[in-house]
Symmetry: C2
Subunit: 217 residues, 2 copies
């Protein structure tokens, strides 16, 4: 059984591993968790001893099969609780992440399974991320971003990459949620800003960073 802290490290390492082209380095983990790199070095040693990760100075941190399994179970609980908080307790899109950060650490053998059943086996969480099944399998996450899109094309919002409340509140303000149709009119050559229309409304301009955080399906 892993501690609260170990679980948070595993989850961060898992997330960083999934980002293409990112080396899961000491400093990358420190940034992700808001901890000092010296603390990360301590924990890398601890998780290596527990055989949950492998560390190679050159390649960075990699989850072992067991570490991967443990990380996925935490992600599973996180995403199931997010569905619960949104659907059953009527929390807003931008509120659920932080509460799920606490709930995901509740350890009781079949709590996740019961919750999944109660929620009627959702495939995706409210941010569009696939929910791992009890066996660890999950649907493919959406990977194409709006920033990669072609102009004069309509896309459907499948998921969001950033789940910070700043981003989610901005989406709320723009009227964008999972399933919203977005037409990409133009990419500004200067800074890759995007001119889009949301559900057929008048065009608005958003940043490249914005577009990179909208995943299309």
């Amino acid at each position: 059984m892993n501690t609260f802290s170990e679980e948070n490290y595993l989850k961060s390492i898992y997330r960083l591993s999934q980002l293409a082209g990112v080396k899961v380095s000491t400093s990358a983990i420190a940034d992700a968790l808001g901890n000092n790199p010296a603390s990360v070095v301590d924990m890398i040693r601890k998780l290596s001893d527990k055989q949950l990760i492998e560390y190679d100075k050159k390649k960075g941190v990699k989850l072992t099969p067991q570490g991967q399994k443990d990380a996925i179970q935490i992600v599973r609980k996180h995403r199931l609780w997010e569905v619960f908080l949104l659907e059953k307790l009527a929390y807003r899109w931008d509120e659920i992440h932080d509460i799920a950060e606490e709930l995901e650490h509740i350890k009781h053998p079949d709590l996740a399974d019961r919750l999944e059943h109660f929620l009627n086996y959702p495939e995706y969480d409210p941010h569009g991320d696939p929910i791992p099944k009890a066996n660890g399998k999950m649907a493919k996450p959406f990977s194409a971003t709006l920033a990669d899109g072609k102009i004069r094309t309509i896309y459907r919002v499948g998921a969001v990459r950033d789940t910070s409340s700043a981003f989610l509140q901005y989406l709320h303000k723009l009227g964008i949620t999972i399933g919203t149709q977005i037409k990409l009119h133009e990419k500004i050559a200067f800074d890759q800003s995007l001119v889009i229309s949301i559900d057929g409304a008048d065009p608005v301009t958003v940043s490249q960073k914005f577009g990179e955080n909208i995943l299309t399906s």
Copy 2:
């Protein structure tokens, strides 16, 4: 904000305070939590510094108004989660206590209020204990025990005092739950054992200790 450990102490002190004739002493708290008395002395100092308890060598530990408030909020969360686990996730009577011990520590301002709304404002938890409202008020707990009962009288099970799985599984085996009718036939003079019939069935004998843990309404 209190730590996980501080919350567990407050809850234990609250529970011990409610038992008539029990002095909330260092050793009583140590027993309740399964900790060493030396550790309890440390925590008594800490909670006193935080003005959550008052300690008098002679009289033992007493919650301050703020300590009482904090303790009741934990009890509120515990009991609401128990209702959720039983009603929504279909856990058994004897399983819910331990899971709620973890869930009660989730700190998010209005999670308890939302959960209470979702559960339709239950007054009592599955063990018959009253659920404190957001303002800390709650229905009077049941206090009369079956062991105090008069013979040839029918009682209704209102609550159980002990919530250990050993006791709850025994009740399950006997077919006793909240609302069950129990007729008290006889008290054995030798050891205060009780001869009872459960929902009109053939009489069975149970111990005095058993009777003291059944609260009647």
